[in-house]
């Protein structure tokens, strides 16, 4: 059971705590470089050693880990009473404020995806009431001091009978924008629903993992490609600002990346592409095969390959508000013909990082305006990119209209019109869970109007204990979570 095995040079990096896949208990873990790759290795006293790839390049990992996440202290936290992940709240030891509240408004879903990484009970349907939803929002705003974004998810949230009431309730001071996760099946059937979402200004996060029917069958349990295409068509028709959410499963749909990048860069209503690495946990993901973890830098490498170099690995930077193994982001000015120009080539990296400290959206403030003006001067003086110059002047004119003052969210919305974003997001599963990542998590799930629990902590330890979403203890290796000792 040696942790120093194999022929490659082994470089120990750091020690922490994580979890055992077999017994789901908290165990010691360590980050170790083997050759050029970085693994999280765990040792369970009972179940031995396990290992998962967390970075393809130790050079990237070390550089990323040197940046530190800018942490915004939560306006309200609870005294820490137990070791992480127990009694998650966030407690006074949590290193990050809530930037993205994630609210599951139902457990109902019209799909049974083999890749599903959450727990949803099928025997009893739960719909969050409007009152409860409002209570959660009150709490989120109080505990976070206001957020740029809120994410409504499920189950499949479009199955909620009062969906629009809930979205309207979320359109309030303290919440910049509502994003709605959906598999798109209902949108494909109901044009009215898309139209209504457009009226409400909600952003749609459309799951789109593949355009290949066979792969769809493997990932979703049936072929839903036609529905996805129809949903896209309707979202386009009504100009609903849309994020494509792709789950990238190693050995399954890596070949689909290129087509999704094309859609991102060519279609004007698509704001961003979020690539989530496959999370091998939950009712589907826990048994999904092959189990090939793709780390964040593995995704960015594949993106560079699949995009034919239009999007390069070096265009990505770790999201400053999260752990580098959790999030990377790249911003582009798209020319609408499939080409893209990285904002890192236009704006200074440290400036971009500074403006991302609130979370996911560029903070379109005075400093960004000044930086854009300087960048325009530079592009103009270099004189070799008239298309880019025009685009940037456009952006400036729209985001900072002369003689007009826009509120922050409106400025942000306009800034984004000209920008395409690629997020790479890696959730943790039993193999990759490590408390250092959990402690820096900015995506938090409001629970019972009194807790904000880091998304992966919630997913791995709490959701199964919530009878609205899961059946009873012990059914699927129920996680060991307790209150204060």
């Amino acid at each position: 059971m040696s942790c120093v095995a194999g022929g490659e040079p082994v470089t120990f990096l750091s020690a922490s705590r994580g979890m055992c896949r077999a017994c789901r208990r908290m165990v010691r873990v360590r980050y170790v470089a083997r050759g050029h790759r970085v693994f999280l290795e765990r040792t369970c006293p009972e179940h031995g050693v396990g290992r998962a790839l967390v970075a393809e390049s130790v050079g990237w990992y070390l550089a990323a880990m040197q940046r530190g996440s800018s942490s915004r202290p939560p306006p309200r936290s609870f005294p820490k009473r137990a070791e992480c992940p127990h009694d998650c709240g966030p407690c006074s030891f949590h290193a990050q404020a809530c930037h993205l509240p994630v609210v599951s408004i139902t457990n109902a879903c019209d799909l049974r995806c083999p890749i599903c990484f959450t727990y949803n009970r099928a025997d009893r349907t739960y719909f969050m009431s409007r009152d409860e939803f409002v209570r959660q929002l009150d709490f989120v705003i109080e505990a976070s001091g206001g957020v740029d974004l809120i994410n409504i998810t499920g189950g499949e949230p479009t199955s909620h009978p009062q969906l629009f009431d809930l979205i309207e309730a979320a359109r309030r001071t303290g919440i910049g924008r509502v994003t709605l996760n959906t598999n798109g099946l209902r949108l494909a059937r109901e044009l009215d629903m898309v139209e209504r979402l457009a009226e409400l200004g909600a952003y749609v996060v459309l799951s789109l993992d593949t355009l290949d029917p066979r792969i769809s069958f493997r990932m979703h349990g049936r072929d839903i490609v036609a529905e996805k295409l129809r949903a896209l068509e309707l979202l386009d028709r009504f100009g609903v600002q849309t994020t494509l959410l792709m789950v990238l499963a190693g050995g399954v749909n890596e070949g689909e990346l290129g087509r999704l990048i094309d859609i991102l860069l060519e279609r004007s209503f698509i704001r961003s592409l979020t690539i989530q690495t496959m999370t091998y946990t939950g009712r589907g993901g826990g048994t999904f095969r092959p189990r090939e973890h793709i780390p964040v830098d593995g995704v960015t490498r594949r993106v560079e390959e699949a995009s034919g170099g239009r999007i390069r690995q070096r265009d990505f930077l770790p999201l400053p508000s999260a752990h580098p193994l959790c999030y990377s982001v790249a911003y582009f000015v798209a020319d609408g013909r499939g080409g893209a120009r990285s904002l890192l080539g236009v704006l200074d990296r440290s400036l971009l990082e500074r403006h991302l400290t609130r979370g996911y959206l560029l903070d379109a403030g005075a400093e960004l305006e000044e930086a854009l003006r300087l960048a325009i001067d530079r592009v103009w003086s270099e004189g070799d990119d008239p298309g880019l110059l025009k685009t940037m002047k456009d952006v400036l004119g729209r985001v900072f209209p002369p003689g007009e003052t826009l509120d922050r969210h409106e400025r942000q919305r306009r800034a984004e019109q000209a920008v395409k974003t690629v997020y790479v997001h890696s959730h943790m599963d039993e193999d990759t869970y490590e408390i250092g990542r959990a402690m820096r998590c900015p995506d938090q799930v409001p629970v019972d109007g009194e807790k904000l629990i880091g998304a992966c902590n919630y997913n791995l330890f709490y959701r199964q204990n919530d009878e609205r979403f899961w059946v009873e203890a012990g059914v699927v290796g129920k996680a060991e979570v307790q209150g204060p000792p």
Binding site: P9, G68, E83, S92, I435, G436
Partner: protein
């Protein structure tokens, strides 16, 4: 329950997680390594005592840069334990440990003729090892490591051991390169003959030397009169032609001002092989763990105190241990007495590669060839480097000397050749309860060789007393 806010400073950010010890009770607990303005701070949470903190590095840039100097560990030939339980459960070493034993320490006695207020190892039992027990410890070491570049005999105070010379004789075996006796010097003052006995057995006297002022010794050692004694002992050692290494415990507000004269002494004679600077480690109770000396402070102080002979750039972390544990520089002696630092001669990548996994400058042919190659490749691009011809001449001569030794040259001969051509300055930051970081302990190369065959990382033994006993 104490419940300080993690975000006491709104500008702080989280760098990594690790496991550390509660400042109050020493329990192993979750910790974050945080950037706090220009500093790096360890913040821990204990179920009983809440959040406590300690300063890890006063210079964020130094700390962050050092993180990229990590190198693969070397596996020992054998270990005391085959299986691992959660670290440090099966310590001594188990397969989870990520570095071999570079500088083993053998505590030949627990007795000491001083009672320093700052003693790291106080409270240990006074039992001394018999010569046979030392032989068995050495056998274990050689089984684990094959050969040992440098062995430290320590204590307690090793010179109070009645059979020190017998033990030194025992250490003269081909697998062991250099032996040093870590001493406070009191016995050498009483018995100058002992200096000659040590010299005649080719051992280095590693003298605890904290400076020249009485107040310094009063504060660190509880005896101001040691100031005169230490200077007397240094003279006697040098007069006897014995090889000397100076070990300085450096306390904030205690003896930083002593550094210029200490460095003068280090530079004055070839008999002083090395200087070891140890920022004070506070054991279980540190009054102000956010206001202590850390490695980058010492680097800065040394550069300031060196009267232009050293710069901060001459120092790099030692890549074989955890980068927060050691910093060092090697100084090549040139004919005419000048010294030139190796990192100023060759590019940092080659240098780090050359010094990895050795806390002593070993003059094996391979290392020197690499230095020569690195010199040539750098110099072909820039002819303006100082001492160019003198340096190259010296390296070539070293290569010739090694060739001349040929196959007959023992490990020991090579080490001797190394220390007579290269001086070193090491900064070693032992961890105390407040600064203890399990990630550092796992990469430790500085082990106590225990009579029971275990090899305990120094800071594990010093801070986790249940394991050390």
């Amino acid at each position: 329950m104490m419940q300080t806010d993690l975000h006491a400073d709104s500008a702080s950010s989280c760098l990594d997680a690790t496991l550390a010890l509660c400042n109050a009770c020493g329990r192993l607990c979750d910790a974050q390594i945080r950037l706090d303005q220009e500093r790096v701070v360890l913040v821990k949470w204990c179920p009983e005592h809440g959040i406590t903190r300690s300063l890890v590095s006063s210079d964020k840039s130094w700390y962050l840069r050092s993180l990229s100097y990590v190198k693969p560990g070397t596996r020992p030939l054998a270990r005391a334990f085959d299986g691992c339980t959660a670290c440090p459960g099966s310590c001594g070493l188990c397969p989870d440990h990520q570095q071999h034993t570079c500088v083993p320490i053998v505590e030949i006695t627990g007795s000491c003729n001083l009672h320093c207020p700052i003693c790291l190892v106080s409270g240990r039992v006074g039992k001394e090892l018999t010569v046979e027990e030392v032989r068995s410890v050495l056998d274990h070491l050689i089984r684990y490591e094959g050969k040992i570049n440098m062995l430290t005999l320590s204590g307690g105070e090793p010179t109070v051991h009645p059979e020190l010379t017998g033990i030194l004789d025992l250490c003269r075996r081909p697998e062991i390169g250099l032996v040093s006796v870590s001493t406070n010097g009191i016995a050498l003052d009483r018995d100058p003959d002992l200096i000659r006995k040590i010299r005649d057995r080719d051992a280095v006297i590693s003298l605890q030397f904290d400076g020249f002022a009485e107040e310094v010794y009063g504060s660190l050692r509880g005896r101001g009169d040691l100031a005169a004694l230490k200077q007397r002992v240094v003279e006697r050692i040098l007069d006897a032609g014995a090889r000397l290494s100076l070990t300085v415990t450096l306390g904030r507000g205690v003896n930083e001002a002593e550094l210029p004269r200490i460095l003068d002494l280090f530079f004055a004679t070839d008999l002083v092989l090395s200087l070891m600077l140890q920022p004070l480690s506070y054991g279980a109770s540190c009054d102000d763990p956010l206001n202590v000396l850390t490695i980058p402070d010492v680097v800065r102080l040394v550069a300031q105190a060196s009267r232009g002979r050293l710069t901060r750039d001459d120092f790099t972390p030692l890549p074989c241990s955890h980068p927060s544990c050691f910093a060092l520089t090697y100084l090549l002696k040139l004919d005419g007495g000048a010294l030139v630092s190796l990192p100023s001669l060759i590019d940092v990548e080659s240098y780090i590669d050359i010094i990895k996994n050795q806390a002593l400058f070993g003059t094996d042919m391979q290392t020197l060839e690499r230095i020569k190659d690195a010199l040539y490749s750098l110099w072909s691009s820039d002819g303006m480097l100082p001492h160019r011809d003198a340096v190259l001449g010296r390296v070539k001569r070293l290569l010739n000397d090694i060739s001349a030794l040929g196959r007959a040259g023992s490990h020991r001969d090579l080490i001797d050749l190394g220390v007579s051509n290269v001086k070193s300055i090491f900064i070693h930051h032992f961890m105390d309860r407040a600064t203890f970081d399990l990630s550092r302990a796992i990469k430790c190369c500085n082990h106590y060789a225990m009579p029971d065959g275990r090899l305990l990382p120094a800071c594990v033994r010093n801070n986790l007393t249940a394991i050390g006993s």
